[in-house]
């Protein structure tokens, strides 16, 4: 059996879970800055508070799967993205701490909400920068990172930062549309009307820029024309469904459409870079750890992941339905 491939599939699964789940948490966080009413902000945070920690754990899972299964890739990528990673970790730290600190007092809550929101925005942007830096190409010398720590500071990664941020805001808007009532739902609706076109514009320009600046992307298009075109077509369809369902009765449909749209985007990306673990530079087999490491990692993944998914789903189920306006315990 091709164990490295299975480990890579598990890593891809984790990062997808992370983007979809923490995506809407970060999107909700980013939107706090635009919501002037404190009661509405409380409602927004309440809608994500019971489950955010599990969502973020998928990020750790991804990082650690790389460390365990593809140590060479991990040891090249961490220094390559040293600065955006540290900024992301600090931003996530401030966001996470705000969850616990904002209920501690009435007086400072607006400041904690600002910290919460800026943390979310910065985390989203740095993730986009890392994505852009990966597609743009990482310099490798021997078996170590050989570039400069500021290689990611170029127009293309910055464009990606914008797309990721607005993608998360779209997810967050759809989440609020599902979980909140009245004023907050209206707010979500208005957000979606603006954020979705912004996301689509940024995303399309990022794709075009990638095609022009990275020859490998063009090459991948040539080999996978049919499947990539299908994916793009389905993404467009999902975007149309999403547009059409804003303000309509079904409260779940926008979220399903948005999740499909982002999920398809990730699938397209995976197709572009497969079978590389560092896009266009290092294949997953070249970076792989020895066999027994994969065996251990995968047996954990195979036997424990179903359990994890089960009780994560249970946690979502406990807090199903609309978030009570006065908080979970009112």
């Amino acid at each position: 059996m091709d164990l490295p491939l299975l480990s890579a599939v598990f890593a891809a699964f984790s990062i997808t879970m992370y983007v979809l789940l923490d995506g809407f948490d970060l999107g909700v966080g980013a939107l706090l800055l635009l919501q002037p009413h404190e009661a509405a902000r409380n409602h927004m945070v309440d809608s994500i508070a019971p489950t955010w920690d599990g969502n973020e754990t998928w990020l750790i899972m991804t990082g650690v799967t790389l460390l365990a299964g593809f140590p060479l890739a991990y040891s090249i990528l961490m220094p390559a993205f040293y600065v955006p990673l540290i900024v992301m970790l600090l931003a996530l730290g401030l966001r996470g701490a705000s969850f616990e600190f904002r209920p501690q007092g009435q007086r400072n809550r607006p400041s904690w909400d600002a910290v919460f929101s800026v943390g979310s925005i910065v985390a989203a942007c740095t993730q986009g920068l890392i994505l852009g830096g990966l597609i743009q190409g990482v310099t490798i010398r021997g078996d170590a990172f050989g570039g400069s720590v500021f290689d990611w500071l170029r127009p293309f990664p910055i464009l990606c930062a914008g797309s990721v941020l607005f993608g998360y805001i779209v997810l967050g808007g759809c989440w609020l549309y599902l979980k909140t009532t009245e004023a907050s739902r209206h707010f979500a609706e208005r957000t979606l009307w603006l954020a979705l076109p912004a996301f689509l514009m940024l995303f399309v320009s990022a794709c075009l820029t990638a095609a022009f600046t990275q020859p490998e992307v063009r090459a991948a298009w040539k080999t996978h024309t049919a499947s990539l075109a299908t994916i793009v077509g389905m993404m467009a369809l999902a975007a149309i469904v999403l547009f059409a369902s804003i303000g309509k009765r079904s409260e779940l449909r926008p979220l399903v459409a948005a999740v499909s749209m982002v999920g398809l985007g990730i699938a397209g990306l995976a197709l572009l870079i497969f079978p590389d673990i560092i896009p266009f530079r290092l294949s997953l087999w070249e970076a792989s750890a020895s066999r027994l490491s994969h065996v251990f990692l995968l047996s954990g993944a195979v036997f424990v992941t179903p359990l994890v998914l089960a009780y994560s789903a249970f946690a979502y189920w406990v807090f199903r339905g609309k978030t009570p306006v006065k908080g979970w315990e009112a």
Binding site: P50, T57, Y74, S75, Y82, F99, F296, F314, E329, A330
Partner: protein, 467 residues
């Protein structure tokens, strides 16, 4: 001190991990304490237990939150600062940490939401189950990460094949020679930490004659656990000492503060030294005569091995190791004394009224955290100059990141963490000042339990909850 990349990476790792461990120690201990207290409440229905639960849940939630966000930093830090270490050791410690994420982080995260916000939704029994799962998660987390760290201290079950480590036997990697002793030592440290925190807050209220019922229960439970745990800890620590003496003699040589291959006879037990590593001697050394021989060799005139027994290029820096040990050991002695006093006072009925005792409990409240940090400094600086003992040197493990960048991120960490610590301490002190009766406004964590209390008092609610 020379600020090269290796030094800065070490300082950054040391700073971030030291900051992190403060919070896990607290939350591992408090999670277990909360489980016990909620269990007692379910069993006896005595509302004071619910009050204790409610009060500590608020503090636990904050400690847990800071623990989570500082922990995430660490799981990336292996590659950020020590890329070469990650490349070589990733296949060994990576899968263990992956299992930690799968078996414990998800478990903690999944049930934490229910523990903090879900009492109304799931009812007391399932809520108790959630508390148990969170406590179990912290325990499993400690087990895996200690296994990973113990493997770095006493590596086993691997082979070096063209410059890379390959696992040959997972059982030997996980159950490596020091894990079985270090894990109980760390867990006991965390439970001791929580016991002294709880007892310290109770004593603070007793001294001010406030919240008496709450305070008496806190002091009583806290000191009961502390007395049992410290006895166990001294015993486990003693076994751990001989284990490390066998596997890492250089660490224990540094920890006792002697330089000559054989110390003078009779050997004193040093408490203060100013070591001079360059000349391999102590500039200043104060100690208690004879005690070194008695404690370390169990005889009146035995000699103790000094650091010169280890070649210079394999010696750790004596100062950090020595003081890490002295801080931990000194606090162990103090804890033991307080525990003995508590038993005596309990016997004579003065546990809640003896003011000098209560004052010492207040002072001892943070002692567990300080001892834990001391223990970790002993373990980690004593492992130097190796990052994986005997296999990989720390200087060979660092990332190709320029020192200027490392310095800037270190400063960023210091600022952000100082901010988090300040906020955490302000909120904890505010909670303590307000006392257990005042649920902090809008703290869902506490509000949930207040509602439960109301629920349990009304017979209709019992019917609703199906009891």
């Amino acid at each position: 001190m020379n600020l090269d990349a290796a030094m800065l990476a070490r300082v950054q790792f040391a700073f971030t991990v030291s900051f992190h461990i403060i919070f896990p120690t607290t939350s591992i201990g408090l999670a277990m304490f909360l489980t016990v207290v909620e269990g007692l409440w379910l069993k006896t229905r005595n509302p004071v237990y619910l009050q204790i639960y409610r009060f500590w849940l608020g503090i636990f939630a904050m400690a847990f939150g800071v623990g989570v966000v500082t922990g995430i930093v660490l799981s990336f830090e292996f590659g950020l600062g020590f890329a070469h270490f990650a490349q070589i050791a990733g296949p060994v410690i990576g899968p263990m940490i992956a299992l930690e994420v799968l078996t414990s982080f998800f478990l903690e995260a999944g049930f934490l939401g229910i523990m903090l916000y879900g009492l109304r939704r799931v009812g007391p029994r399932l809520h108790f189950f959630a508390t148990c799962m969170v406590a179990l998660g912290t325990l499993l987390s400690a087990s895996w990460i200690l296994s990973a760290n113990s493997w770095m201290q006493t590596p086993d079950g691997v082979a070096m094949q063209n410059g890379r480590l390959v696992v040959t036997d997972w059982l030997k990697v996980i159950v490596n020679p020091s894990w079985l002793y270090r894990l109980p030592h760390m867990l006991t440290a965390a439970y001791l930490t929580a016991s002294f925190l709880v007892a310290g807050v109770g004593a603070f209220y007793l001294l001010r004659r406030k919240h008496t019922l709450f305070a008496r229960k806190s002091v009583s439970i806290g000191m009961a656990f502390a007395a049992i745990l410290i006895a166990g800890q001294v015993f486990i620590g003693d076994i751990l000492y001989s284990t490390m003496l066998k596997h890492q003699p250089s660490k224990m040589q540094a920890a006792e503060g002697f330089w000559e291959r054989q110390s003078q006879s009779p050997a004193p037990y040093y408490w203060v030294i100013i070591p001079d590593q360059a000349h391999q001697r102590n500039r200043v050394a104060f100690g208690i005569p004879y005690l070194g021989s008695i404690w370390l060799t169990h005889s009146l005139h035995g000699r103790v091995e000094g650091l010169k027994s280890t070649p210079r290029d394999r010696q750790p820096a004596m100062g950090m190791v020595f003081y890490g040990f002295r801080i931990m050991y000194g606090i162990a002695i103090l804890m033991f004394a307080v525990a003995v006093a508590s038993l005596w006072l309990r016997w004579h009925g003065g546990l809640f009224t003896t003011r000098w005792f209560l004052r010492s409990l207040v002072i001892m409240a943070p002692s567990g955290i300080v001892a834990t940090l001391g223990g970790w400094y002993l373990a980690e600086t004593g492992r130097q100059p190796w990052v994986i003992f005997g296999l990989l040197r720390t200087v060979d493990a660092v990332s190709p990141v320029p020192s200027g960048t490392l310095l800037s991120t270190l400063i960023a960490f210091i600022f952000v963490y100082a901010f988090l610590m300040t906020a955490f301490l302000i909120f904890v002190f505010r909670m303590i000042r307000r006392g257990p009766e005042a649920a902090p406004d809008h703290a869902e964590a506490s509000a949930s339990l207040k509602n439960a209390l109301r629920l349990l008092e009304s017979p209709t609610a019992n019917a609703v909850l199906g009891r």
